[in-house]
Symmetry: C2
Subunit: 341 residues, 2 copies
Amino acid sequence: MTTIKDIAQAVGVSCTTVSNVIHGRSGRVSAETISRINEAIDRLGYVPNMSARSLVSSSSRVIGVISHLTPHNNESIVADPFHSAFIGSIERTLSNNGYYLMLRTVKTTSELLSFLRNWNVDGLFFTGVFQDEFFQALADIDIPIVLIDSYVTNTNHSNICNIGLEDYKGGYTATRYLIEHGHKNIAFASPPIRDHGVVYERLQGYKNALSEASIPFRPDLVFERELDVDTTLELGSVIAKHKDITAVFSTADIMAVGIMAGIQQSGKSVPNDISVIGFDNINLCRLTSPNLTTIHQDASLKGTLAVDFLMDMLDKKPIKDREIILPIKLVERDSVKKLIS
Amino acid sequence: MTTIKDIAQAVGVSCTTVSNVIHGRSGRVSAETISRINEAIDRLGYVPNMSARSLVSSSSRVIGVISHLTPHNNESIVADPFHSAFIGSIERTLSNNGYYLMLRTVKTTSELLSFLRNWNVDGLFFTGVFQDEFFQALADIDIPIVLIDSYVTNTNHSNICNIGLEDYKGGYTATRYLIEHGHKNIAFASPPIRDHGVVYERLQGYKNALSEASIPFRPDLVFERELDVDTTLELGSVIAKHKDITAVFSTADIMAVGIMAGIQQSGKSVPNDISVIGFDNINLCRLTSPNLTTIHQDASLKGTLAVDFLMDMLDKKPIKDREIILPIKLVERDSVKKLIS
DNA sequence: TTGTAGGCGTTATCAG
DNA sequence: CTGATAACGCCTACAA
């Protein structure tokens, strides 16, 4: 392993000078020395040892991407196609800016804190719901943190930025759309609902759209299920056999697609017998038959903004708004039918 | 930040003793000292500084997951749902064994080497095809490496393990199946084919099945396209309009699904007009209508085996076989029709 | 059973 | 413009 010392010896200067050149402190070194040092660096294949750097500077250029593992959600962050695309774009940007990405799932606050201190982590992406306890811990850390899709009571900490979505409005819009198409018995299908999560917000939107239309909220039409294929197919067939459901709002396209397939495999038609509306607008929506009407969110923009936020904070640039709520948009396709009443 | 020295002072012992306790060298320390040290560790919230550890031990407990970026493949590793699930499972296992996961996309060999030395990376997962130049570089590194889905000329290096799939057989089996169902004009649809990649192997299987049945290989029936929705839909409609194609073998389910949708949106039927067979057996196969016949591979097993390989090498356990080729299996569903001739 | 001392590669301070 | 030197936190001979 080539070290700064090796370079110094090869060129016949001191470590300090080499270090200065490496860090572009060119003012203090003669042009000739600089070029000789650079030549030696290339020739000997010098690569900085990040551990040593990190040790002395207590900063590591490591950015953590944290996925919070809960009892309910025993999947890694990347199981979700959404998040995986997100991570990909993060990695590239970070890499271009000289940062490194560590992926980590944590179960407890102390696990998270240990991880951060283990590596002098410089910044953090945090996705998904988490309890206040978790949030408190984050607030106490003084590294830049970008929260994605996390509903927290109070993001008023200068080290925390937040990127969210109009989840409430999305739920409201989807439900409203179904109501306007004459539906009254509208099922709500989602993964397990946790307080102050995105799904919770969407449920509130659903409820309010119903109540605005004077349709009573029926808890028995709320289906909290896991997102796997078997479960969603099964849920589809349950809905198909249900006596009065005419439409389903699912908070995830991936679930909506499964429900749709389940309905169809039970011999009923979408949208003729039952209408379906999803959420996310993933690519798959255009591959199903019928194409899935859904609520659109811009996932890649979310990723870009998140990285921008973090880079700005890392660069200590002033941040105008620490919170960005991305807009949703209804995308009409063919999975919802107008009920003639 | 609490250090070993802090602990030592708090307890009134030396750093060495603390270090010994931390590393479970219990033989050398009295039980009482051990418990007092452990108590102090808990109370003061000591967390080891990995940078310092790594510096002195030139090993970091960092495992890299490398995605090789080529001009053709400008996507991150995680864009592929396959790989993302894989990464998730890797992370958990590594984490349980006290390792950390760094994600990295690299374009060149030297970029890779720099990365490894930057962090004293202890082990590597490497997915996808790569040129011999790349492979040579890997062979020269003396850390454990697990290759996944990489066809390399020679894995006979003690630091390299390889996990592959019966790609050739998969291509052969799929094509043979179509032929047995009376098809002769069989399109081959895949992402861009690179030499010695999985797709290349599947193409060989396709060709051989054809030639065994005395069906001439027609290059004009090979469609190399990107995997995005627009492209695959478009390809579906091209195939639908094609004069003599009666069946399609696509080397990726995600593409097969798009093609199927494209065919259907062009007003033709699957499988009545055109049969489709995919590859991978992703969940989606059971959500389409018709359900997609495909070649199954066990993705999660791939991940598990890969991690096992790496852990064994890291533990310096003897490895019996440095190469595992996972079997494929035909899964019959409803997207292929028997042609009556 | 416990302590001392040197060094891992890098940076920063301060003196030449 | 350049060079010593100390420190970062930890580990490991070796000594006691």
